[in-house]
């Protein structure tokens, strides 16, 4: 195999009985089969499985055209979406962009400023966003399957009003891009009536698996990231991980080992990285795994930490607190730019032993040392190594985690593609907000709140 994503048991090897792990191959095979034959629970939402190879080229080229148009007419781009409708795009954009992307001068930035909204209903955030948009040339992408989800719908009402006041009704129309259902729903209807440019959220792909659909692709392209490379990486992953052979399939090994550790009593999986640009990738991962597996009283609680930062915060707990967790480390190859630690004549800080070394070198040694320390503290660490920070490997890594998640969920015996529990708070919220049709629930809740 050429340069590709590597998975190894890292410091977890000592925690695993190889014969017990081998016995799990049958489960892996079974999960593989029902996934590929579309016979498992939630099979109607497995469109992501062959998506990278079956991408709609015509729509892809429309996405790129729209992105190019936005890049040439706007210095600011606003993405409206919640959950899977923004996390994937944000993860890829932050993974592959300058740390201070929005803060560097317009000429030096590789695209318009990008803001996300509609992923909550914070009044301060909305007002502050309106402040920064005042003097900017703005385009908006609203992403919602139904068009009635509260958070993005509220944000879209406000943003559309803002655009109409700034550019007039007709001008606003040309600056709104809609990603929604192919045929149904409020947003689809609105888009048809207003003549907004439209992109389709496929019916057979749920929100948290949707980053490689137009949901993620339009914002990612606006950020100047190469979609072809992203999709090529995902396609290569789809090809590599299509084999049911456990020993040949990294992705299935990860699925098996995390199930193994879960069954041995580890209830928390920490996604560990030492690159600040993986922060939103970790958030994307948390949704993917938490929402896919956290049901029927089961599931690894997904949390994330950034090292070495959090070694000075959660490090103590990881080393010596309740023995509940294992770590999944995602690390990358050498960065393009790598500052070197300068020599200082007097060496008062005692750092001259590192003079001439690069920061990446220190970062890597810190991670190696940490994994050993945590293993000594009964916290096993799995290691995923990605050759480089690039669109190609971003695509590969996304697919790696998507497929491992599906397999892992099937091994756990749940439907990895539904999210029934998300409705509970929505129902209560609608009732308390006085949404028509929820009058009876409202009375019950008000009684409970009085107590």
């Amino acid at each position: 195999m050429n340069k590709w994503i590597n998975f190894d048991f890292g410091s977890a090897a000592g925690f695993i009985d190889q014969s017990e792990l081998s016995a799990m191959k049958k489960e892996i095979n079974a999960a593989h089969q029902i996934l590929h034959e579309k016979k498992g629970r939630g099979a109607e939402f497995t469109g992501w499985l062959h998506l990278p190879q079956q991408i709609d080229r015509e729509e892809l080229s429309r996405i790129q055209q729209s992105a190019d148009h936005i890049r040439s007419t706007s210095d600011t781009f606003v993405v409206i979406g919640v959950g899977g409708s923004y996390l994937g795009a944000r993860a890829v954009i932050e993974m592959l962009s300058h740390t201070f992307y929005n803060e560097i001068p317009d000429g030096k930035r590789n695209g318009p400023r990008i803001y996300f909204v509609g992923h909550h209903v914070s009044p301060d955030y909305m007002q502050d966003l309106l402040d920064v948009l005042q003097d900017r040339e703005v385009s908006v992408n609203v992403i919602s399957k139904s068009g009635t989800t509260t958070e993005p719908a509220v944000a879209f009402r406000i943003m559309r009003r803002f655009l109409q006041e700034k550019y007039g009704v007709e001008g606003a129309r040309r600056r709104i891009y809609v990603t929604t259902d192919r045929t149904r729903g409020a947003l689809k209807k609105m888009a048809d009536e207003e003549g907004y440019t439209q992109f389709v959220i496929p019916d057979d792909i749920g929100g948290r698996y949707s980053v490689l659909t137009p949901v993620g692709l339009l914002p990612i392209a606006v950020a100047g990231i190469d979609l072809e490379a992203l999709l090529d990486g995902a396609a290569e992953a789809a090809r590599l991980y299509a084999t049911p052979d456990f020993h040949e399939n990294n992705c299935y090994q990860y699925a098996a080992v995390r199930q193994y550790l879960y069954r041995s009593g580890k209830k928390i999986e920490l996604f560990v990285h030492n690159d600040p640009w993986l922060h939103y990738f970790a958030e994307w991962w948390k949704q993917l795994y938490g929402e896919s597996e956290g049901k029927e009283g089961k599931g690894l609680f997904p949390a994330s930490v950034q090292f070495t930062t959090d070694l000075h915060s959660l490090g103590q707990y990881i080393q010596e607190g309740e023995r509940l967790m294992f770590e999944t480390v995602v690390q990358f190859g050498k960065p393009e730019r790598d500052p070197v630690i300068p020599e200082e004549e007097n060496n008062e800080d005692g750092l001259n032993y590192l003079a001439g070394q690069s920061m990446n070198y220190v970062n890597k040694k810190a991670m190696e040392g940490t994994l050993l320390a945590h293993a000594d503290g009964d916290v096993p660490g799995l290691v995923i190594t990605v050759p480089e920070r690039s669109p190609y490997f971003a695509g590969g890594l996304i697919y790696f985690f998507e497929k491992a998640c599906a397999i892992s969920g099937y091994m756990m015996g749940v439907n990895p593609f539904d999210q029934p529990g998300v409705e509970s708070y929505k129902k209560n919220m609608f009732a308390l907000l006085g949404k028509p049709g929820y009058e009876q629930e409202k009375q019950v809740l008000l009684q409970r709140l009085k107590r």
Copy 2:
């Protein structure tokens, strides 16, 4: 009591046996006593207890003078610190500043741009930071008790070199502000020799309790935040929470209830907020509780979620995954600016039932509904309500959590002021990096890594 921070059992009340909770008063009393009489473990690090009332007025005025000077001579301020040496300042600054503080134009911003570095050794982050500093007028505050902690020491070497190249050796001297030990350590020595402006980290206050010392105060003042109000709020909290009377002491109630829930099998505490400006406050809280309690195989695993954002990601798990957790909600009173949801004639998104309502209203109802939904899913929710987003109540809330943490830690039987587990990774890292004195450890680790 006038307007103050409120604590209530919220939806957790139904999970608590009042007589069992009452029985914990004795423990609370005992913890109170050893804390106030400085007879508990780690008593030598309880200087934060009376800090707000005993603040050194002379040093406070020097801090304000330096902050004013920095504000008038610099458009960019860089804070170098890791763990407790940056989290508190960052928490307060982000809590009380514009969401896009660094991105709004210089004239409209309430102080210089602020960047944090030295909280990890990411090469990309450092290089990207150097990019944005190129054309700016920069001052630096380096915060380290010893001056030899790897992350900030590496960052300081690089930043000092940057300043020297930009301003010359003498110019750089005037732009470096050092917060360090009163008498000892590498950074103290360097500061004396170079004549840097200095502020003192008290000996009796550990990193995670240090936000109201010069460690936090200088950066907070540079951001234009009122230090007097911040300290007044903390002083009022210190006064109110000095009573051992459980019924009069909100802060002790929180400590007791979280211990109660922990003993009943809840192993994860979720810090919940619905204000994006609390993100770093949550990070600060995670360090405070995780590092204070996570030892001897004990401790609540501290995690944080932002609603409603994370209801579309971790919400499924919280509602229906493993039953391991409870929630501690921190919510604030009505915001100053509160966008209203506009009416739309055709109402295609079905939101007109909310037209004329403010976003804050929706946000609050969402939280109420969520707490009830989660309680139905066996996740109790405690509620801390803060009257307003202001320096005064930020100070109060900081002290609330600090004192509750100390009491809670003593109830758990650990030393809430040490962090012995943080040394393990450091020792390994030093060995792998070839630091003089770690030769033997290095050989052992290299052997282990080969396996």
